[in-house]
């Protein structure tokens, strides 16, 4: 947890089988997660830069706060060039 890499990116990934739509994630990481009309998370699949510390921190909170432990942070070693990723 302590080590912070400033290069590369991450995506918040949900295991849809585990997820029961509690919706804690959208409270804890509102910039990363929105809910559909049935209360299940919609998460953008474009990687977020690891240098975006506030996003990373909220993602970690969402992972820890999920009652079904359905979320995890997947590291993406190389960010695609250009404006595709979010900082």
């Amino acid at each position: 947890m302590g080590m912070r890499r400033r290069t590369g990116g991450f995506v918040l990934a949900v295991n849809p089988i585990q997820c029961d739509g509690f919706g804690h994630c959208t409270e804890l990481a509102p910039d990363l997660v929105r809910l559909d009309e049935w209360g299940y998370p919609i998460i953008d699949k474009t990687p977020v830069a690891l240098s975006n510390l506030s996003a990373l921190e909220s993602a970690r909170l969402a992972v820890r706060g999920c009652p079904r432990q359905a979320l995890r942070i997947e590291r993406v070693s190389d960010l695609p060039e250009g404006p595709a990723h979010r900082t």
């Binding site: 849809p16 009309e37 209360g39 299940y40």
Partner: protein, 425 residues
């Protein structure tokens, strides 16, 4: 030996009864394969016939690289699609060709066990395979050990991770795979899952080699394939055609309506294709620009007496009911799509609003399930919106087309045993 240009290949010597082992060995003598087994498979360019058209050699290579003594080969003959009869036809014509292919695959990856999975709802096929396995047991003792498994039939039970889940743990539910391609496992043993038709093709490549195999088909889609043609046809048919045959020729084999409104291509997880495009070759590279694919080798013909909106509703309603209900977007999203389509099919007062909801919901569901079941339904709905755009326009303004009133249906949907199986309504 059958010559490279002979047709059919997979259904060669079909007498209406399954070939015995002796007949099989006489019909398909071991030929002179020019090179090594794996090299020939790689050179053949064979792609999986279960729907995804993934290169078989790539899958085999992935499993070859695993160091493990408990590998499995799984022959998938579950045939989840209601319009499909190809695995059934193949196993009723020549089960030994499929089993030979499975043995070649096992030899290539070093597997000691082969599981053949046939839905228990298809007892005649189960009998054919049982008999074939007995014959082999008596004849020779080499290579891997066969086992027959008969999971109950459900649409998603044939999905590879659901099938492996059944073999591993008696639960026909798809598994979550964060990375793809993933190696599925039974216990600790990595599993190679291949469709029965893919195995039969491996059986031929193992005998006669890549050059022989490539004598039919196109450069990118070599070989022949089995295609089930149903719907507005005189004779529902499973035909073996070289990939690249035009749709018109394939439809003629089943005496289909020569001027159809549209075709379902690839099955209910596939797409609608406008009936004007009958001169397209049946091969993925030619079909891709039209948003359709060979898929699981199914063509359902919709005649001009039918209505695309009604057919789409019937299929989606059934597909929604076939969800394993593990993932929220699928368990709730697909019934919502079905409900919207219901309003449109019956051109109710709510139809215009339902159309808006349908478009929005279709955009939200994709890619959010553990398996591709919801994605397939969304693709089916999207293609319907494009192909039947004019009909949807009428239906949403309360004017159902003539076909919707005719009550003739073309896309076969299994009847639900009890209407209350539709748990959401």
């Amino acid at each position: 030996m059958i010559q490279a240009h002979d047709l059919p290949r997979l259904l060669h010597g079909d007498t209406g009864r399954p070939l015995t082992l002796a007949q099989h060995e006489a019909t398909f003598p071991i030929g002179a394969r020019p090179g090594g087994l794996f090299e020939e498979l790689e050179a053949s360019g064979l792609t999986g016939r279960g729907g995804a058209a993934f290169p078989t050699a790539r899958k085999v290579r992935l499993l070859r690289e695993q160091r493990n003594h408990h590998k499995f080969v799984v022959v998938n003959a579950m045939e989840g699609e209601p319009g499909a009869h190809k695995d059934q036809s193949l196993l009723s014509a020549n089960p030994h060709l499929v089993l030979d292919g499975a043995e070649y695959l096992a030899a290539m990856i070093g597997a000691k066990n082969i599981a053949v999975a046939v839905a228990r709802d298809n007892p005649s096929v189960v009998n054919h395979v049982t008999r074939a396995l007995h014959e082999r047991e008596r004849r020779h003792d080499r290579g891997a050990k066969f086992e027959l498994h008969t999971p109950p039939w459900r649409f998603v039970a044939g999905e590879e991770s659901a099938l492996v889940h059944w073999l591993d743990d008696n639960e026909s539910l798809p598994q979550y795979r964060p990375q793809r391609p993933t190696i599925l496992r039974i216990g600790h043993g990595p599993v190679l899952v291949d469709n029965a038709e893919t195995c039969a093709n491996v059986g031929l490549i193992g005998r006669y080699g890549a050059a022989w195999f490539r004598a039919h088909g196109t450069e990118q889609s070599p070989g022949t394939t089995l295609v089930s043609v149903t719907g507005a046809v005189e004779r529902p048919t499973v035909a073996e055609v070289p990939l690249g045959t035009t749709l018109r020729e394939i439809l003629a084999l089943a005496d289909a309506d020569p001027n159809p409104l549209a075709l379902v291509m690839g099955g209910y997880g596939g797409s609608w294709l406008d009936g004007r495009h009958l001169d397209l070759p049946y091969a993925n590279e030619a079909l891709a620009p039209y948003g359709v694919s060979v898929g699981a080798g199914i063509i359902v013909v919709l005649s001009r007496a039918g209505c695309g909106v009604v057919e789409t509703h019937r299929v989606v309603r059934w597909m929604a009911n076939e969800s394993a209900r593990q993932c929220g977007p699928c368990a709730f999203g697909l019934p919502a799509l079905a409900e919207d389509l219901g309003h449109l099919a019956h051109a109710t007062r709510d139809a215009a609003a339902a159309y808006q909801r349908l478009v929005e919901r279709a955009g939200v569901i994709e890619g959010r399930g553990a398996c591709r079941h919801p994605d397939g339904v969304v693709r089916f709905v999207r293609s319907a919106l494009a192909v039947f755009a004019a009909d949807f326009e009428g239906h949403r303004h309360g004017a159902a087309c003539a076909g919707a009133q005719s009550r003739r249906h073309f896309a076969a949907v299994p009847t639900l045993e009890r209407e209350d199986e539709l748990i959401w309504e």
